[in-house]
């Protein structure tokens, strides 16, 4: 069986663009999609439990949305809710699944802004040992 493709998916327009491209790639290359919603709550802020619960709810909802889309397109897909920062969570998931590549969306914002507020796509380019595909929203 062909290797899987890991898709960072948080339900935002960038993630939808990534997911659309991933569906096309899976159709062309074969293999399975692994959608991932990553979340990490800073312990500095106290009151971790409720924020994590809210994020898990949201993550489950958007992942089910992505799974439904893959199902409609006839593509095999799984989904994982990962309690980790997006960059390291996606890298870890890609390793575990021996993924062929990681696919994420971008918002097309200026690089400096991305560096300031934190761009997962940018971090992945440096951290991932596997190919990374960035799809512009």
């Amino acid at each position: 069986m062909a290797a899987s493709l890991v898709v960072g998916y948080d339900g935002t327009p960038g993630a939808r663009a990534a997911s659309d491209e991933a569906l096309r790639l899976a159709r062309d290359l074969g293999g399975e999609l692994v959608f991932a919603y990553c979340y990490a709550v800073s312990p500095v802020g106290g009151e971790v439990g409720d924020l994590e619960a809210a994020l898990r709810e949201r993550g489950t909802a958007v992942l089910n949305e992505a799974l439904a889309q893959a199902h409609d397109a006839g593509i095999a897909a799984r989904a994982a809710l990962v309690n980790d920062r997006p960059s390291s969570g996606l890298v870890g998931l890609a390793e575990e699944n021996d993924a062929r590549m990681i696919i994420v969306g971008s918002y097309g914002e200026p690089p400096l802004k991305g560096a300031l507020i934190g761009s997962t796509a940018h971090k992945l380019l440096h951290l991932s040992e596997r190919p990374v595909l960035v799809v512009r929203a």
Binding site: G45, E47, T60, L67, A76, R78, A80
Partner: protein, 504 residues
């Protein structure tokens, strides 16, 4: 092909924090540099030479309240605040008021943080005339709140290593200040007002008046505020032989040590009268200039600013999360529970807190000249209120467990109740004292009483009104029943954090 559903998994990084990170979170949240900058004048004005002793004494009730945080966290881990615990133990109305007090304390302290940031920002660039201008300081203060709020919405975090570095620099700088001050006193270079340090400064029994203790405590609940966060983070306990809570003990020692050392050094160098009389709002910065001089004093100013930044963040984050918790429980409008799709932070809560802080800060600055001092007394009232009820909540929640062992009785029952009683007394005695306008630092009179009392009581009354209003339309939350601890909760091992990931 069918969808297989969503699998949950831990990330590769462990969820638990190591010893150093736990200590850093505790100390940085308490923000010793900023706290000293904010209260040095106040505490010296209250007890003079006995300032170090009051700072030692004042720690005891905080320690007792910290015990209640520690044990409530055992029952309800990761929910590090009063709202959920007090709701369980004492019912929804008390829980609501506890959550409200946290939110209010946040809004009040933001004015103070913004003010310190403005003052010390101008001191850093050596622009004294701007530091003396209320308008200029307020503008920088508002920008400070906006930037820090944005940082919290975007979820920007410093790396653990950077945090350790900043905190280390802060502590080393404060120690340097103290050592040089003592050295100059000993060598006779300290100027006219200097006093040789004496052991009696550190002796709590040498404090002559109960009024001094009361005022000192009111200030001290503020400077130790935030320390409890160490107790609530799940410290890594995977290697056996280590006890959870050792980070809490260690960060305590650091805090008490820094406060005692720096206050003693400042008093010794400048003399109590000179410090007590200072009305610039930036006594520590000015002292640093005379003590270190030659540009080295900028280090102290930078330490205060980084500390204020850390404190601003550890103020905004928990408060926004408290209102998120309250919204999810149906105790506040559900919009406050909204999470930003991309940044994964409670954006509505956070921005609202920022806006309220700005309105409060600017409003208070327009009304009262001396907000720095009066806001801290009002803040002390608010913290005493919610720490106090948390202490009682712990004993109430575990009331059936207290007779299981002497340890339970002392640490889960007696200590939190004593802490609660001390804070209750402090709240009451301070209210009586502050009802006389001449006792507020600004000497202003609002409605015939001191501004801190109007602020403190006014917010609590507003809280009751809002709660009754909310209760009218949304009774569900207020139907929640009080709970007691599951039998054996205290005997069970502390919550362990799972090791690393399993494969999905």
């Amino acid at each position: 092909v069918a969808a297989e559903g969503v699998v949950e998994q831990k990330g590769l990084k462990e969820g638990a924090l190591g010893f150093v990170s736990s200590v850093v979170i505790g100390v940085a949240s308490t923000a010793p540099g900023y706290s000293l900058a904010a209260v040095l004048t106040l505490v010296v004005a209250a007890v003079g030479l006995q300032a170090p002793a009051v700072l030692i004494l004042a720690f005891l009730p905080m320690l007792f309240i910290a015990a209640s945080y520690y044990y409530m966290n055992r029952a309800d881990p990761d929910c590090g605040t009063t709202f959920s615990w007090v709701t369980r133990a004492m019912g929804p109305s008390w829980g609501w008021m506890g959550g409200w007090a946290i939110v209010v304390a946040d809004v009040i302290v933001m004015a103070n943080l913004a003010q310190i940031a403005g003052l010390y920002g101008f001191l850093l660039v050596g622009w004294q005339s701007a530091a003396d201008s209320t308008l200029a300081v307020t503008i920088v203060g508002v920008i400070w709140i906006v930037v820090m709020t944005a940082i919290c919405v975007y979820g920007i975090e410093l790396s653990a290593r950077t945090q350790v570095g900043l905190l280390g620099a802060e502590l080393v700088t404060l120690a340097l200040f103290a050592v040089v001050a003592f050295y100059k006193v000993a060598s006779g270079d300290a100027g006219a007002g200097s006093v040789n340090p004496a052991l009696s400064w550190f002796n709590p029994f040498a404090i002559s008046s109960l009024d001094g203790v009361r005022d000192g405590l009111l200030v001290a609940v503020f400077i130790y505020w935030g320390w409890d966060s160490t107790v609530c983070v799940n410290e890594e306990t995977s290697d056996s032989g280590t006890t959870p809570g050792r980070a809490a003990v260690f960060s305590t020692l650091i805090l008490v040590g820094v406060y005692v050392l720096v206050s003693a050094a400042a008093i010794s160098f400048a003399g109590p009268e000179a410090i007590a009389k200072d009305d610039s709002g930036d006594a520590l910065g000015l002292l640093a200039h005379s003590v270190l001089g030659g540009g080295w004093d900028k280090l102290v100013i930078i330490a205060v600013l980084t500390s204020a930044a850390a404190s601003t963040q550890t103020t905004i984050l928990p408060t926004a999360r408290t209102s998120l918790s309250m919204a999810r429980a149906g105790a506040m409008p559900s919009i406050l529970g909204r999470i930003h799709q991309r940044f994964q932070t409670p954006d509505v809560s956070t921005v609202l807190m920022g806006l309220l802080s700005i309105v409060w800060y600017v409003g208070l600055t327009l009304v009262s000249e001396n907000i720095l001092f009066d806001s801290i007394a009002a803040l002390g009232l608010m913290i005493a209120f919610y720490y106090g009820i948390t202490g009682f909540a712990c004993a109430i929640y575990y009331r059936h467990e207290l007779t299981n062992s002497v340890k339970n009785f002392v640490f889960v029952g007696v200590a939190p109740v004593i802490g609660g009683l001390v804070l209750l007394w402090l709240f009451y005695a301070s209210c009586v004292d502050l009802s006389k306008p001449e006792n507020s630092e600004s000497g202003d009179s609002w409605l015939g009483v001191g501004p801190p009392l109007v602020i403190g009581i006014g917010f609590l009354v507003l809280g009751v009104v809002l709660m009754l209003f909310w209760r009218g339309g949304h009774p569900d939350f207020f139907r929640r029943k009080r709970e007691t601890a599951e039998p054996g909760t205290l005997e069970a091992p502390p919550p362990q954090v799972a090791e690393t990931a399993g494969v999905a």
